[in-house]
Subunit: 498 residues, 2 copies
């Protein structure tokens, strides 16, 4: 295989970058271990270690010689891969440079305290406990936007942190369209009642060891390289983490009932993992290895979760496996399974939302975040506004803070600007469905037969193998000839649910 | 509690040291994960990450400003803790300075290749495959000794790497004494036959889940803080690793038969873990946190394994627990258990050796290592000499390389000079037994009743709480008024076995 990095300056950059890469690798392992293994009191030393490694990594990114090399390379005649390296590093340097060290320290302290306050507030269902921290986080996020700079709105600067190049002017039309079109679809689904609001399978209790076996078998069906390049573990919240191209691990949780929650989490995380596993190995140790953005990443996980995992054909494929391991399944048909995976109901909690209502939850957060950052909305006004919006969008009004404004950890983590990437991914998944079924007309038959290799190969060729070579918008244009387009999601929802 | 670090320069040093500490923390987590969790192919990226972190850590230790601060502090009026910080850091700086980067790279490469060659040689039972690598490692180890410098013998420089201040002039009299005294004791034990050479319990097969439960219960008896500050996991070779004072993990392995191997491994590793867990918490993030040397560390593990774990009282204590979980135990008495834990037989493999023959195995390696480093012994002569010595010391002659020179990984890892610390620890464990039974006359009754708190407290006060404040020899003098003294081990062996 041809070397992707030819330019001498790029080679020098990559040699230096290996140290930064290694710190990132270590931070990922430390983070994974914290969620999966760490004994409780380990947190004291682990936090300090993570903090020190962050500071060290920033120092190396801003090292004068390193920055000079990157600037020098920018003027060279480079190939796409090399340009990708320069683009990603310039972005990292820009972000690292933007924030003064005192600010980084302050935001990191506020984040810790806010997370503790949020945890307590949630336990006591008392928003007042979290309110002052949210105000502080809004203030610091606005400051962050100022440090980063923006053309139109301060919120744009935050959006770009999570999705390179994303701005309000991209998102507003998308969310307007969704708001206008989704409500009537939802009303019709509820009216027709073909897709139930609740399903008896939600109440069925499962044996955790049996369920673990089911999840592992599904991963084997997908061809996830358990033991050679991956693992499945247990953590409070399911997640995927990559320590490189050759070690990409996923987690799930076992609640003992409503097994679709653990099963679809595994399918979702597999989508994230596959994106990392199918990188071009020549990118190893370089800044262009790894998924390019949160939105593109979520498109992969949502594709596996929603398009494959919630399909009738997938329900048929895994039915025997479920029946053999979960005794209660014998009382149900594959068709029952399909409707159980696709209940539709307006509900309060985002992470439990179905395909149709999910984006409404994001829309609500997007509106509030814009108001916080661009319009000076205070924490004291957020809780009421949340409830009003929820009532307007889904026709239900939270009775507790936990059902409303306190449900997500994101704001406590000071990651304002993150939520919209969930919708981008969800919409993109339906676009990918449209493109792949054109190239692979018997896509759903393949799912039913468990023939995932051609599907994985297609995803590799269209998305995965590019790593972070191109920014997200350019990647979409190159592979699919268009960017995020909510029409596909609307069409998909109509076709599937009506 | 009083601050232990008062001096302003020391405080500056410790602030800078936190980054070095954090890298060490990360390296430990990466190492632990590699043994316990890592999917196979993860090794490519993990090795590069570990290499980069090592280089980075060395760079920070040799950072000009850091070295200047340490030198400056050396001239200050310091308390014991602060002097400990300076001593440990001067030692690290000296070692880091000694080796030119090309040498570090070369030895690291040779180590990787030698380990692979050793693995293959072992699989094929063919010493010739490993021989050229062993020659290279002998050559590089001699070079390392020259870089480090020494007063009497080059081997002294290597000994000091693993046990601060240890020299041939300390070890020769110890091993001479052991060689002279142990052989007659061993002969008498074998003649008398009270302690059997083999025991039927060695052949009993156990259920792995049941055995896991037993191990966990024993750790609970000891008060090991499972889940709060520790974990028990599975790895190919049992080990302990500390990520700090608050997260100290141990591993064991399950072979499915001869359960004392997994059980006593857990007891052994608990001894290591306790040393780390009982550090003075004020040392956190400083270079004096953590056990001071391999020899002192091994004294703690051997104390728990040999003095407690192989005692009649411990067999009585855990008998009901074993009987409740391992059905075959009902056919045996606590007394059977005691003799099973204390079989004595000349055998080939060091890691399976009993208390009496164990030090003979180390003696053999010590002799060979001295010849390699001081006298120019070549790899081609090592295998035969090994067998001759084994015959002379234990009266048995290996018939395969795997039973002889190929059994240990240490030389492939280029850690010549490491083995003697095993004997130091084993001897010290019997000294500690003598001291503790003076202070706690009902020591063995306490073991029988599972009252480990006063024993742990005694170990904390005499050894653990000092961390690395004093060099090993000074620690022993301060706490016990004498250094390593083989008389205790001889007496103990006579008393126990004759």
């Amino acid at each position: 295989m041809e070397e992707v990095f030819q330019n001498e300056i790029i080679k020098q950059i990559l040699l230096k970058y290996r140290t930064i890469w290694a710190i990132g690798h270590a931070q990922s392992v430390l983070g994974w271990d914290m969620e999966v293994n760490m004994p409780k009191e380990g947190i004291t030393e682990r936090s300090v270690a993570q903090g020190e490694l962050s500071v060290l990594s920033q120092k190396l990114i801003l090292d004068k010689k390193f920055v000079e090399l990157v600037e020098k390379a920018d003027g060279e005649d480079l190939n796409d891969y090399e340009r990708g390296v320069v683009r990603v590093l310039k972005r990292s340097i820009k972000i690292a440079k933007a924030f003064p060290p005192e600010f980084v320290r302050e935001i990191s302290e506020v984040r810790s305290k806010a997370t503790m306050a949020w945890t307590e507030a949630k336990q006591k269902n008392d928003f007042k406990l979290f309110e002052p921290y949210l105000d502080k986080i809004i203030e610091l996020s606005r400051k962050a936007a100022d440090y980063l700079g923006y053309d139109e709105y301060p919120y744009d600067a935050l959006l770009d942190l999570y999705e390179e190049g994303l701005r309000i002017r991209d998102l507003d039309p998308i969310f307007e369209k969704l708001e206008k079109e989704l409500k009537p679809i939802l009303d019709r689904i509820l009216e027709e009642g073909k897709f139930p609001k609740e399903h008896p399978l939600e109440k069925e209790k499962y044996d955790i060891e049996a369920m673990k076996k089911v999840n592992l078998e599904i991963l084997k069906l997908f061809g996830y390289p358990l033991g050679t390049r991956g693992r499945l573990d247990v953590s409070p919240h399911p997640f995927t983490t990559e320590f490189g191209i050759k070690d990409v691990r996923i987690t799930t949780r076992y609640e003992g009932f409503d097994f679709k929650r653990t099963l679809l989490a595994v399918v979702h995380e597999f989508g994230h993992a596959l994106y990392e596993l199918q990188q071009d190995e020549r990118f190893m140790f370089s800044p262009i290895a790894g998924g390019v953005s949160l939105g593109i990443h979520e498109s992969q996980s949502r594709f596996w979760e929603n398009i494959i995992g919630r399909s009738r054909e997938f329900a048929e494929l895994i039915y025997p496996l479920l029946r053999d391991n979960l005794p209660f399944i014998s009382n149900y048909t594959p068709e029952d399974l399909y409707y159980y995976f696709n209940t539709v109901r307006p509900d309060f909690i985002r992470v439990e939302a179905d395909e149709v209502t999910y984006n409404m939850h994001i829309l609500l957060r997007y509106k509030l975040e814009k108001l916080m950052i661009n319009e000076g909305l205070n924490a004291s006004e957020v809780a009421e506004l949340w409830n009003d919006e929820m009532e307007r969008l889904l026709g239900i009004r939270p009775k507790t803070y936990n059902e409303g404004v306190l449900q997500d950890i994101h704001w406590a983590h000071a990651t304002i600007g993150y939520f919209p990437t969930y919708t981008l991914g969800t919409l993109l998944a339906t676009q990918i469905r449209a493109y792949i079924t054109k190239d692979i007309p018997d896509f759903y038959e393949k799912v039913q037969r468990g023939e995932f290799e051609p599907i994985k190969e297609w995803l590799r060729e269209k998305v995965h193998k590019y790593g972070s070579v191109y920014p997200p918008k350019e990647l979409l244009e190159r592979s699919f000839g268009e960017g995020v387009n909510p029409e596909y999601f609307i069409e998909y929802s109509k076709e599937k649910y009506l």
